[in-house]
Symmetry: D3
Subunit: 300 residues, 6 copies
């Protein structure tokens, strides 16, 4: 980015970018966008990016969310935190156990997951946003009945499924121009907490809020028609095509919950779903306020 | 402009322009800007620009005003129309008479001026804006007591001075996201109409509205420290310097009412005044939503 | 009128007039009345009444409108201005051309018509009302999308028909106790202006506003059953009878657009339409606030 | 009145009465007027007017109050009922006892006075008004803390003086376009009721409400400069002159509490006080909505 | 009651009473309860309780109503006053005449009944409540069209039946946290007043207000399955059983209008009806805010 | 508690408790109460009470808070969690280091403290409340700029002091009848988090909210004049006496921050501060809704 010297840009270029962006700003004024922010998206464990890179990406993400909010959009951030949970378990000497790719969660593991998600990852995102002003409010799905959960059918302990989303607390915070940041812990009517898959939870929240957009920030550029071919990036698709891509194995494992949530969301009234590369600086701004966009757009 | 191909711009360039503009959009949300649009600015009589050029500039101006309104600013357009008045007088075989550079205005001339300003120039601007939607409402200073006038002391017939501005009708229209377009005819309590200098009227309207900005669109790039030296363009100045420039003859004749109105406005509470080149496409957007700006900025 | 000495009226007479009027005042509180004010009504070209008489009638009309507004009615004035357009065309040396009784309107004629209607007749009415306070606001049908027009089928150039009326700007002004005065220029979606028949436009405005009353001020006492017989004045009629009178030739030419607009309006929800003699002082007050009324009343 | 045939009145006469009245209607819109209605005013014991006359006058009074309310005034009726209290005491075989012109009131007499004022006179007025619609609400000064009273210093038993007026209940009813009718019983903080002079109470209510007008309906034409000379009727006066007339014995006994209340009220902010002949049909309308008025007007 | 020393109560007892009551307080917040208060309930003619006892009971009743209002319930008091009417008639030497258990009411008797109900009983209740603050407002069914009545079919003179209840005035007073106290006089459209059975009127008011509860305060403990057997007190019943009890003669005469009104009310949407012993101190609080309740509860 | 059988309580006892409590309920309606809930209060490390007792106390506390909220009070819960932080540090093999009785907090310890307070203790309280409905919302002082902190002067690492409290987010949640539960982590403008003493933070929150009450739930009965003498419990005191007790060593160490916060709060506008025994079931209800209260009350 350092090569760009905005002050010296041709005024005509600036004028065109502005004239292109302003109608989007108007169109999305007051509209809700749910952004799923995952541990992988900001800190890919396989890359060489260490702490500074991770923090730069988090700061860019936070700036985008604040800018969107400043021009009237109503962002809701939903996040997971798998890697960080693993880290603390390791420090505590606990051995993670997976079944069908899902973490088996006993009471102690749930306590750990909850402390990490609510007390650490959530706090880090809230903190990065609030550098720009008192805007973000961290929430757990347990607060004010936000996410009602029940045990997952696969008997994974305190791994839960979303039963219902009560958007009242989100709507109230949004009405006050605050930015909710949601850790995906749910609870059942007896008060028992459950750990919830964040991709699915983000979709459910977007549905219930009647969001204009549901955005997944990932560590890939978008969906590809051929996994190994960067030129096969899908720019625009729809629910039917996406379902087909899931069925025929085109999509790799990590993409499946995101793709499934996109399909479900656009069919349930969300206007557009996006899968973006969270490592690209200002990915959100570019996707939302330019005609070309970046990443994969899913329409109904 | 045709050389710019926005679709191919580097995403990083776009991202930076957006990230730079969004805070201005937020900052000016809900703020009033009074834009003086003069006959000269859109149709310079000395240039070779014919009707099509004039119309292109008017269309670009109208688009800027609509875009500003779409992202929450509250533009008020104030306009004159000297050249067009002259045209109709010529057609009717009347000889204009000037005294100290001001048009002497008998009852018939006033009728003509009013028909041209309210029934033609005002209509043209309203029409150009309303291509984008039912946004503009044409007003004369006579409507709802907007501009109370009295006869000019130089005995110029029905040339008047602003005595008072009652902003109620403007505030009501602005509150409904409409764009007032004001022809500068005023009236006295007995109902007698007067023709008012539009530069002065624009300043008075900006003062009374407590506008954030007062912008003069002219047919020059901005003020110059040396009339013949394009490199002496003044980017930023203040009331004191401007007063000195008027006193020592630096400013040419046509700039004096604008400069005087700028000085008065910033001293009366308007935050910033601008003198821009109305011939530059999207001059308003560039001045308001980029850090560098174009033209001359006057601060208190 | 000079023969009346109100101060000496028997108190019982006054008390009875008041006790009769007050229920009407209550009944029409907050109700919209659309008043069509035509050039003929205030300045009959065939009569010997010169400027002073014309002005006296305009002043009486303005006073009535202000009084009605002061006791809670919501008057909307709609006006034409045929004679005044003709005058300016003559001054400019243009020959009016009529086809089937409608003026053929080229671009230059439209410019002239618009200048006269919006920049002169409208201004004169606004000025006469605003002698009583900052109440009237002049509008053209182009403002805020008020009247959408399309070309008349008879290929008369820029003579238009009403396609749609968007009452938002009228409703907003009425809600603020202002008195809209509408010049009947409309525009199509591309921004092209058209000259519209004022009688028809007044009816369309009344329909869309759900007006309580639609009043035509004319230069006749009302409709007559036999054109030459003053004693055949129609006091009360309805849509069916009026249609019959149009069909059998009872009505003279100038009355037909008014009669047709009355029929259409009362069938579209306007409660009552009236055809009054605009030359009678305080004709509006007498028709609205007394039991007997003056002129012809059309009910559904 | 029967000699008046309004239907045949010259339209010019009607127009002038209306044009004269409408500005008053506008001016008094939303304004509070306190009307003291006394037993004497509607049922003069010395005249030969029997029940039917009394009822006609009550009906005319009720119609005026309803008409005033219908054009936006906010009338509050305050009433006494001396003669009617005397009647019931006589039926019950109780001997009225007066000291310095004031009725000595033991517990039983208070019970009787309260039953008559609240349970009979108040009901009769409410009933006469409500023939026109569900408008009037009867109140006693005991309701919602309206009139706080204390014992009269002359040791007259349960005769009280006004200590404070809490207008909240009146303001609430007026805000809902209801017409409060107040019987002048007050109570002290322990709940003990007192009979209050209605002339004084009406003045206190007008003061506290910041009324535009305080009107006493009496059985005289107005105040006279010489008691026996009908031509000496005082049309307009002020507080100082009225005080002088009380001091020098010009005013007869029954007028003194009214005159004193008028003086006090106009000095405490009530704009105008009136003493009218309640026997004149539509006396209220004539006083309020015509330039000449009837009766005596007291200004500050 | 003097044996209870609350200050010394075990904290655990207090805590349990509070924890039990609070949910009822929340549940009934903002809910309307219509309380029928009868002459018998406060002054049982058969008991030896004289004036002091009667006043103690009235004071306890008033305190309950004020406390209910203070924790958000919206009580409406409806009352009769048979015994007091009889007293005044006796003093005036009039012989009461009954037909089928209903008082035959000539014009003079109606005047007496109205004076007693509106001018005495109503005043006594309002006074007892207002010892606690300016809360109660006395109303007659004639005020603001509250109760429209028509003559009773049995030709009993001015004894009327409820034709319609217009709750507007009650709703307005309740919205302002005032306590309406209603004397059951109604009027017909011509303004003629009628005396109405208070038990029936209370039921009609509760229906129209959509009350949560309708409570009859009586001088019995509640309904009994066997008239002479105190142990047969009915704690809970419903409309069907109550109808059966009326049909088979289980209920004594005075209970029948109350029982019939309860049945009708719960079938018309009132959630619960109660018949309580008004002589029990704080009977209302105990019934409403404790689980056990006192008296007979009728549910749909 | 099991010995109490509320259903069998004498109605008179119930009536008196209710009649005593209702005025308090009214008085505290809409009032804010800040309740400091500490780890010690619910889980005294020195007692033998294990998990079940701790949970019973938490459940009783949660029920009280919900009941208070249900009758209109606006509770804000502020909590610490020292013992639980120690537990996790031990599990992670970290050695706590104290200086002048305050925990020295390095970056890792801060992370741990934040996870425990925000991700565990806060969650447990929120969960216990939300068994009764979606009422509680967990907050950290970092959310929406709630607590601005700076480093403690004693160089204890990330131990902070309260610099400012921005109550906006609390007021918004309270306005929606939600119950904020605040973990006392603050942040400075750069986004750095700090651990804050919860006693002090509770006082600062109460001050800024203008709370009616500030309540410390502790594991003692209240303050004692002589540490070893249970009969020396202080029922009522004020700021001056409390200051003296701190100065002369009467108060034991753990009580000092609470006592100091009480003194400061009542001097800064909080009406009453309380130190209660959190182990007593329904301690909050008893203190707030009974005349006698439990524990120590501090008034200004």
């Amino acid at each position: 980015v350092s090569a760009v010297v905005p002050g010296r840009l041709d005024p005509a270029v600036r004028a065109e970018v502005l004239a292109e962006a302003l109608p989007y700003i108007r169109r999305f004024w007051g509209k809700v966008v749910v952004v799923k922010h995952g541990g992988h998206a900001i800190a890919p464990s396989t890359s060489g990016g260490g702490r500074p890179a991770r923090e730069a990406t988090l700061a860019s993400f936070a700036e985008d969310v604040v800018l969107m909010s400043s021009v009237g959009m109503r962002p809701v951030v939903v996040h997971g935190g798998g890697p960080q949970i693993g880290e603390l378990m390791t420090r505590l000497g606990k051995e993670p156990e997976f079944r069908n790719g899902l973490r088996v969660t006993d009471a102690d593991t749930l306590d750990i997951a909850r402390m990490v998600l609510v007390g650490k990852v959530n706090r880090d995102i809230v903190g990065a946003v609030n550098v720009h002003g008192p805007l973000a409010v961290g929430l757990s799905g347990e607060d004010a009945g936000l996410i009602t959960a029940s045990a997952h059918p696969d008997e994974l302990g305190f791994v839960g499924e979303v039963k219902a989303v009560n958007p009242a607390i989100l709507e109230r915070l949004l009405a006050q121009d605050l930015i909710p940041v949601v850790a995906t812990i749910g609870s059942d009517p007896s008060g028992q907490a459950y750990n919830i898959n964040a991709d699915t939870a983000a979709g459910a929240v977007a549905e219930v809020l009647g969001a204009e957009k549901l955005v997944y920030l990932t560590n890939v550029e978008g969906l590809r028609r051929r996994a190994d071919d960067p030129s096969s990036l899908v720019h625009v698709t729809d629910g039917d095509e996406l379902e087909a891509m899931m069925a025929d194995g085109t999509l790799t494992e990590g993409m499946i919950p995101k793709a499934a949530a996109c399909v479900r969301a656009v069919r349930a009234g969300v206007r557009q779903a996006h899968i973006l590369d969270g490592r690209l600086p200002h990915a959100l701004l570019l996707e939302i306020y330019t005609r070309a966009g970046v990443g994969t757009l899913v329409s109904p």
